[in-house]
């Protein structure tokens, strides 16, 4: 059998977060957490699922050139932190060849992309990434 290097269940159970940015919202105080948590700052353990908005502002970014084995052929990788409706999310920044041209607080949209794959035979891992709406070239 083909060796599987990455875990399928580990990916599968996070599909709501990877595909749709499903956060949790505290029923008591309304705080929103992404990634989800079991206990709120306020002590409550009751949450509702809450999808983060798919548009927001870029807070900061960097371009990583020394990548891990899973991403060798995708380098360099740009990463950004975006504010999506008041919740800060970390993700890859794509379709932006010159991120240094982005202005402060550049508008980003959440897109659905491939993240990595388990060799030529294993599963393909998908997930959200951040894409500047305009201005990086």
């Amino acid at each position: 059998m083909v060796d599987q290097n990455l875990s399928v269940p580990k990916y599968w159970r996070k599909i709501p977060q990877y595909y749709r940015l499903t956060a949790v919202k505290c029923r008591k105080c309304g705080r929103v957490y992404f990634p989800p948590r079991a206990v709120c700052e306020c002590g409550s353990r009751e949450f509702d699922e809450y999808e983060l908005p798919r548009r927001g502002k870029l807070i900061e970014y960097t371009v990583l050139r020394s990548v891990t084995s899973d991403f060798e052929k995708q380098r360099p990788l740009a990463f950004g932190i975006a504010d999506l409706g008041g919740v800060r999310v970390f993700g890859q920044l794509v379709d932006c060849p010159n991120p240094d041209k982005l202005g402060e607080g550049a508008e980003v949209e959440v897109v659905f992309r491939r993240v990595k794959e388990d060799s030529d035979y294993g599963i393909i891992y998908y997930g959200f990434k951040l894409r500047p709406v305009k201005g990086c070239w």
Partner: protein, 349 residues
């Protein structure tokens, strides 16, 4: 019961390569290539884009335009000929990416470039029968063109999605007409990385015979003539074929041009004619009559008679337009093209 389009969404990647750039790499005469296909440049998906990711993007915009809740969708059909998995559906990924309910009919369809339009026809049947309220039909492809072979000049990347239903229509699909036969003009064997085609054989016996057969059949059944249509949209393997088939059918150039996108993004296979339709919907007035004829090698066509409604104009700006995406572009050179399309042969992916 009137059935038709409730919402639509398109997706074109941001990167482009000029056909001239490809011609220079292979020592071909760039002007001759341009003259053959009338394709200036084509859309190239980034390294992390595939028919699944583009299908998600187009479908999200389609849902936004339709203004319906994902839970109201009863079926999702994905037409493609470039599935990232030989076995494992795109449609099931769409269920979770779009947050559809679990009680959804879902399947991937393959008939070369025609399957996306078959998804529409099938959903119309499900809506008419009352089995579902809304369905999502997707045409999505990032097909393969062997480096150094002529397909490389035209094979583009893109996706389009339509929400089919019977209420709140932006366009009614008033009639459909199929035309198909066993005509091996273009194929890709199982496990083979690149399609093979019969050059000139893809023309008369394949593209033209089937499109004309479907278009004429549809007009005859309806008693309509080219004059009765405001727009005519045909499958676009290059920019020459749709113009020529329009001439053969008797449509003037100005009725075909608005639906041509291949010159700027290449042949997007299952998205091709349906992306042209998306672009036309962005400009069409209420009451516009549109002929759409798709084509898939192997070979077959579906012809559609579509009429827009008063609801159309207000939905255009609710999501990314084809017009905007055609403008939103970053040019890359041939080496980046090879990298992004993962054409460089590697031991490990």
């Amino acid at each position: 019961m009137a059935v038709g389009i409730v919402g639509w969404g398109a997706y074109i990647p941001r990167y482009r390569i000029k056909t001239r750039e490809i011609a220079e790499a292979w020592g071909d005469d760039a002007l001759r290539i341009r003259d053959m296909y009338l394709v200036e440049e084509k859309a190239v998906g980034y390294i992390d884009e595939d028919p699944v990711t583009m299908a998600v993007e187009a479908s999200r915009d389609a849902l936004t335009r339709a203004g319906i809740a994902p839970s109201e969708v009863g079926a999702v059909f994905a037409g493609t000929e470039s599935k990232p998995y030989a076995v494992k559906p795109i449609s099931s990924i769409l269920i979770d990416a779009l947050n559809l309910k679990r009680q959804v009919y879902s399947v991937d369809m393959e008939f070369a470039c025609k399957a996306g339009s078959d998804a529409i026809v099938n959903l119309m049947g499900l809506v008419k029968s009352g089995l579902i309220k809304y369905g999502i039909a997707v045409g999505t492809d990032s097909s393969q063109g062997e480096p150094g072979e002529h397909l490389e000049y035209t094979v583009g990347t893109g996706a389009v999605a339509y929400i089919i239903g019977s209420t709140n229509l932006v366009a009614e699909i008033k009639h459909t007409y199929p035309f198909a036969s066993d005509t091996p003009d273009f194929w890709r064997r199982d496990g083979s990385p690149y399609p093979v085609h019969g050059e000139g054989f893809t023309g008369e016996p394949a593209y033209f015979r089937h499109i004309i057969g479907a278009a004429k059949g549809l007009m005859e059944e309806l008693g309509m003539k080219p004059n009765d249509f405001d727009y005519a949209i045909f499958h676009q393997p290059n920019a020459r074929f749709p113009v020529r088939v329009a001439q053969m059918l008797g449509f003037p150039l100005e009725k075909v041009k608005p639906g041509i996108v291949v010159d700027l993004i290449g042949n997007t296979y299952n998205a091709s004619a349906l992306l042209g339709l998306a672009k036309v919907l962005e400009e069409a007035k209420p009451g516009s009559r549109i002929l759409v004829v798709t084509f898939g090698s192997g070979a077959g066509s579906n012809a559609f008679y579509i009429e827009t409604t008063d609801l159309l104009p207000s939905r255009v700006k609710l999501a990314r337009t084809v017009g905007e995406m055609l403008e939103d572009k970053v040019y890359i050179d041939y080496s980046l093209y090879l990298k992004y399309r993962r054409i460089i042969r590697m031991i490990h992916g």
